[in-house]
Structure formats: C-alpha cells, structure tokens
Assembly symmetry: C2
Homo-oligomer: 338 residues x 2
Amino acid sequence: MRTSLKDIAQKLHVSKTTVSWVLSGKGNEKGISLTTQEKIMTCAKEMNYHPNLLARSLNTGSSGTIGLILPDISDSFYSQMAKMIEIEAEKHGYSLMITSSGSEKEREERMIDLFRARQVDGIIIAPTKHSPSKIIQMKDEGYPFVTFDRYFPELKIPYVIIDNEDSSYQLVNHLIQKGNQKIAIITTNSYLKTMSMRYEGYKRALESNQIIVDTKLYGEVSFKNYQNNIVEVLERIIREVPDINGFFFTTHILALEAFQYFHEKGIPFNQKYGLACIHDIPTFRVLAPQIHTARMPIEEMSREIVNILTLQIEQKQDKMNIQENLSCQLSCSITYRD
Amino acid sequence: MRTSLKDIAQKLHVSKTTVSWVLSGKGNEKGISLTTQEKIMTCAKEMNYHPNLLARSLNTGSSGTIGLILPDISDSFYSQMAKMIEIEAEKHGYSLMITSSGSEKEREERMIDLFRARQVDGIIIAPTKHSPSKIIQMKDEGYPFVTFDRYFPELKIPYVIIDNEDSSYQLVNHLIQKGNQKIAIITTNSYLKTMSMRYEGYKRALESNQIIVDTKLYGEVSFKNYQNNIVEVLERIIREVPDINGFFFTTHILALEAFQYFHEKGIPFNQKYGLACIHDIPTFRVLAPQIHTARMPIEEMSREIVNILTLQIEQKQDKMNIQENLSCQLSCSITYRD
DNA sequence: CTGAAAGCGCTTACAG
DNA sequence: CTGAAAGCGCTTACAG
C-alpha cells in the first residue's frame, strides 16, 4: 500500500489538512509553524509519500492533462508534432496523453470519449476525414479543443493549419521560373480542404504564368492501396504526356513512393524532372537533393496549438467568455534547392 | 457541469447504488427490475451521462492505463513501437499514455514518478543509458513494469530485447560469404549492452571465417553531434583501409548519415561496398536496394512486452507471486537482398 | 428488488 | 497556528 496523507497525519498526530497544506507548498501562506512543516516534510520523505493525482484531480476538477489524438503515431509528421506538442504543453504545466485514431471515425470518437471520461482538460486532434459529429459536440458543450492538419472551414472551430494554397503556389511557381512547363500534380484525398487548397495553389501558379491547366497532368492517388495505385497514376501520366518535366507532390509519402517507382524503372528523375513537395523530410537530402520543399513549421504549429488550447482551458476556469479568434494559419518555410 | 450518478439518481428517485449497478452492466446480476433498468438507461442517454473514470479508478485502485516512456517519440523505431504497443494494450483492455524522456535521466525519472502519481497500472520503458535507480525502486516495490530496447543484464528485471549478437553475426557472415573481407563496423554508444552484443556478433562472424579483427575497421561514433562525427570516422577508416569493401551499421541512423556522406562525396557506395544494417526502414529500398538488414520484430516485441506487463498487473491484483520468467529475447527477421 | 453508508485520497471553505 | 467536516464522483459490502 502506498502511503497517503492520512498515514502521515496519524503518525505525526496532526490533521490531514495541515499535511495537505505543507505538502502542497502552502505551509507559509497558511501559517503553519516551521517545526511542523519540517516534521511533515521529513516524514513524507521517509514514508516515500507520493500524492495520488487522481484524487487531487477529482477534487480540483482539473487533471493537468491534455489529450492528443493522431491518425497514426508512426507517421513521421505526426510523431514530430507529438514531440513538440509535448514540449510546449509542459511549458504550460500540462502533461500529454497521446493516442491514435487509425483514421477511423469510430475509433476516433471512442478516443474522444475516453479522454473526456479520464477528465483531460482539453483535446488536440488531427481529425479524420469523417469526424465532425463529436467535434461539433465538443464545440457545443464548450469543451476546450483545437484541431490541426485537417480543416473544416464550414465549422467555426479552433484550428491551426498551414497556408496550403500559398505554399503550393510558391513551389510550383518556382518550378515554372526554372523552365518547367509541364508539371504534374500528384495528390490524394482531394475532398479534404487542405488538399484542395494545394491544388488551388498549383493552378494559380500555372495560370499566373499563362500555362493551361492540363487534366492529363493531374494524378489523384487513392488513399487505400496507394502503393500500387501510384504506379498506375505515374505510368498513365508519363504515357499521356511524354515530355513532362516536373512533379509537384502534395505529400512526402507520395513523393517517396514515386521515387521508389522511378528508381525501380531506372528513370533518372533527379536529372529529368523539376521536383517539389509539401513537407520536407531528411531522406530527401539523399534521395532527391534538388527537390524544392515547403517545410511544415512544426515548432510554430505546436506552440500555437498549445496556446489556443490552454487559453480556452483558462477561460473556462475563470468563467470568462472572451472568445477571441482561436484559429491561425501559418506559413511554411520554403526551401529552394537550386 | 457534467451529469453525475447522483443527478440521475435524484431525477429518478432511486439510489446512486442502483444507478451505478445498472450503468456498469450489473443490473441483471444484482436483480434490478427491467423497468428500472430501462428508465435509468434512457435517462443516462438523455442527460448525456459519461462516467468519471478518475472517480472510478480512485475506488477500484486500477486505472486501466499503461504508461509508455520512450527516449524520443519522433524516432521511427520508437513511434512504430508506440503504435503496436497501443494496439496490443487495447486488446488487454488498457489504454496507453505515451511520453518522452529525451534520453535524460532526470526527465525520465520525473516521468516515472508522474505516471505513478497518475496511478497507471504499469510502466513500459525504453530506458536511457543511466536509468537504473528508479527502475530498481520499481522492482523493489513490486510495481509492474517492463523494459525494452536497452538492457541491463546485471539487474534481474523484466525485459524484452532482440538477439543482437546473433542478428549481427548473421548479417556480417553473409557479407563475408559474398566475398567481402574488409568489413568496417560503424557503431555508437558501445557501453550499452545492446551495442556491445552487436560488436560481439560482428567479431564472431569474422573469427569464424578466419578473418583477423582489425581495429582500423572499427568506427565508434559519438552520440552527441554524430552528424559531424560520423564524417570523421568514415574518412579515417577509408584513409587507413583504402581497399575496404563492406560496412556493417549497428543502427539505421548511422547508415543514413553514412549514405548521405557517400552521396555528397560522389562515392558509389551501392556498387563499391557490401552493406548491412541492424533495423530495416522503407527508405533503404530506394537508397540502398542491396543492403542486408535485420528487421526488428516490432509486432512480436510489442506483444511480448504487453503480455509480460499485464501478467504482472494481474498477479498483483490476485496477490499471487508466481514470478515466472518475465523476460524474452526475440530474433530479428534477416533479409538478404542479393 | 432496492437503499443507506462508508470509503478511495485528496482539497478547501469555515471555525476557533 | 491548527483541526473537524464536507465534498469531488464513483463502488461495494451490508442490510433489509
């Protein structure tokens, strides 16, 4: 049995109240005599006392915990976000519970419920494509939460995203400046706002350079079974537009799969094509040293996410309701590798 | 305010006891009339009741939560482990709290304490190099935990590791069979048992093929600032042994850095050297299609880890003390790519 | 078939 | 300077 406040109180013939105050650092504030304080402190050490945070939370109504729900913790982007969010959360005095939704609606909703049942003070979530219902519920109930990565413009909810349209524009425009006219876009999940914005940026870059948007150069890869699917897509595009000279990938996963395909086919893609990709990963330095990338501002995103969430938590505690603008759109840092 | 058992009880003019039993599925067992049960169920739905798991845990003494402490959640190996461990834990009815130690002793110990204060039922930890004191404490107090990845043979504690010595032997032996005689080992943190075992395997492979172990071919990369350090190490080895024809990397991180270096220097490493590495990652398929690897048995490790932990948790609850062998050593699956 | 009561380990007005 | 008491939201013997 772990020792409790009561054990210490009994042993020292003082009240639980006194022990509680001393151990939570309110000894001076409450005017407990120094001798008593010292007795209690040493006794706590001796008996190896550790407070039961569950009991404390039950009382105070706040657990000092934030829940993070990710589609897939083993994905490099999400796991980097997890790392930074944890660091930021800690700066605000919160610890993090992380879990995966597997991009499944049912599982995601269960996780939201589970987190709430465990009394986390707020939830950070990279929603699946389907999510809204539970998210709307959190909004309606005034439960603190913030979304990132995916984006539901129709819902007025707190979110942090990157400027997908502009980052895409910059990258594709740069490819064009460098003389690439026939640029394919390889994308997926285009019904997601984040993805459609990337397409918009691609389109705007072409149009502002008087290049006609060619549907033959549009490659939509299905999310399911994308590893096979992308091969078909690439082959079709190369067949239909033999003089293609650029690729814009909307995710690093697609780029990696494409490079693998090029590699297997012996296509010298680094020489042959101008390359650009949303999201930068270390592997690119070796695989595609000249790819232009938009680097996700992981640190900045994490900081904003945690800020927005803790703001809500504090507001809720103070019963204030000054809902400022709880969303933000961040720029990627674009890297040109010429 | 969220609705509680009491709210439902008051509204329906029954006791909290009855409500609790019905809602926790013990209605029939306790012989609550069906009408009452139904009233309670619908009322709970209407009032949007969700149990407070903290309160339940405080009572039952078990939180249904397992803590996972990783050196770095953004590392691909650890994040894959996290994913699989979560899946396995769920099969046993536990949810997972994940946190990073940053490989810092002080932080790791704080996290152990924090988890215990939050009453997790057990801890899974990939220890830092320094860890023992808190780990010994958990052992002494009979607190359920299990270690993986790193290994303290002198402590009799539950662990799950891979067969580092044999995997290394297999890989290096294969390189030799393929005609590579001058094989360098690139390693780091050699004071760790897991790492020294990999060296042992390398040595055994050479010796069993009557090849003299040449210290010139030994490359120890410091963990701190390894990105610069590895360049020095590689340059030194290549200078001292110009006819080197094989590399054995003890981690994928070292391999990636080396490939980057080779790439920058224009060294056609795929043609020039036989390559082998502990741990397989997707990038290798493109970067080094012919590298031989030992794949970490992520699923199997996760399964064993969770098994060992839940076994302890259950034993503790049942007050049994049949400590069986709570450790296991798993084989990697070796992939030769000739 | 149902309820009153004690308790899990804390915190916090309130009283002296 | 210190303590008795109520309460956070549950569960669970015990009693009828």
